[in-house]
Amino acid sequence: MKPPKFDYFAPDSIESALALLTEHGEDARYLGGGQSLVPMMNLRVAAPSALIDLNGIAALRGIRIDEEDRLHIGAMTRTRQIELDATIARANPLLHEAAPHIAHIQIRNRGTIGGSLAHADPAAELPGVVLVCDAEIKLFGPDGARSVATGDFFKNIFSTALQDGDMITEIVFPAWPSTRRWAFQEISRREGDFAMIGIAAWFDLDDAGRISAAGLAAIGAGDTPLRLSSGETVLIGQAPGEKIFAEAARASLSDLQPGSDIHASAEYRREVGGVLVERTLKAAWERSS
């Protein structure tokens, strides 16, 4: 189908975008890469009265490392750029590894990281990676700029901490220790489909070779991307190995909250989720040991 009528504006600054959004009322929407919102408009599931196109705002694009080695990615940075960028491959290899799993090349050429987070599909890859990395999400809204921890950002299916008038401006990833182990794996029926379930994992080792910090997150396993804290707890203080990975996978099952849909049953997702936690941890460990 064709989208319903709307007014269109293409501001060149964050401030003028907010002014336009405020002026055009509660049915106005920001337009990012358009790879989620425009299909919804074409299907007439969404009918915004006005679109404020963020594609012309240079301040929302770009990838940089700050003096504390944190990785900053502008909200309107496209997924394909995240996939190919050499700085990201070094500064957050987990994000680099997850990026090719996102939809198809034509979608990655337009879709943006900010758009994916704002859309908050529970099966989407970027929200899971951002969550497991404890990234910060920078927002700009009617009350100015503020920052939300990823753990507080995803509220429910397709719903986030974004308030009326808020725009995501930037995602800030903590520094990535050079010795960190990581992996991302997902199961989908065909390449590019939304994951039936996916796991993002990383861990750090102390001088004695024991796990000193760990992150485990699942996508497609609940109403939001989920942190598998029970699995993480099992890993801390242990030497990496198949036995402890299996134990972490068993513990993680209690954190999974999968639902059933036409793609997979809840039982299947839970079963595969456990297997995938184990596999992903193993892949992380084998990568450099």
């Binding site: 269109y8 299909p39 390449e191």
Partner: protein, 161 residues
């Protein structure tokens, strides 16, 4: 507020001035305003890949972009591949490898393949499979399409292009 927007579309090397409603997708603008009906519309929500065009070198869904957003970019559609009546090497390879039957999906495969080959002139079979994963074909079973793209890459390497 203006119901109509003026936009200049650079398509296959030619600039076209169009008056469009904001809601007109790039795909509809190409087909209806510019009469470039080689770009096909299948699902109109970003799933089938038939409407793929090349925007500033990157394959994109023209059903998920509005024409007003295309001001200032360079667009290549399937009409931009052939030189008059002479097929491009990629199109010829599709012909030689029986890579189409009904042909509805073909423009999307050609534009996707063209952009991917520009980026990676020596793809592996797995890379080609991955590259076309966002395009649906119900006739060929995909194998001849993959063969045609690999064949083109090989011919270009051997031809020193």
């Amino acid at each position: 507020m203006t119901a109509q927007h003026s936009v200049t579309l650079n398509v296959n090397g030619t600039a076209h001035d169009c008056e469009v409603e904001a809601r007109m997708t790039l795909a509809d603008c190409l087909r209806e305003k510019l009469d470039l009906t080689g770009t096909h519309l299948g699902c109109e929500h970003g799933v089938c890949g038939a409407c793929t065009v090349i925007v500033d070198g990157a394959a994109v869904r023209s059903c998920l972009m509005f024409a007003v957003q295309a001001q200032g970019v360079q667009i290549t559609t399937v009409e931009g591949l052939a030189d008059g009546d002479t097929l491009s090497d990629l199109q010829q390879a599709f012909h030689d490898n029986f890579a189409l039957q009904c042909g509805f999906c073909t423009p999307g495969f050609l534009t996707t393949a063209e952009s991917v080959l520009a980026e990676n002139p020596s793809p592996t079979r797995a890379e080609v499979q991955s590259a076309i994963s966002g395009n649906i074909c119900r006739c060929t079973g995909y194998v001849p399409i993959i063969d045609a793209i690999l064949d083109t890459a090989k011919r270009r390497r051997e031809g020193g292009q």
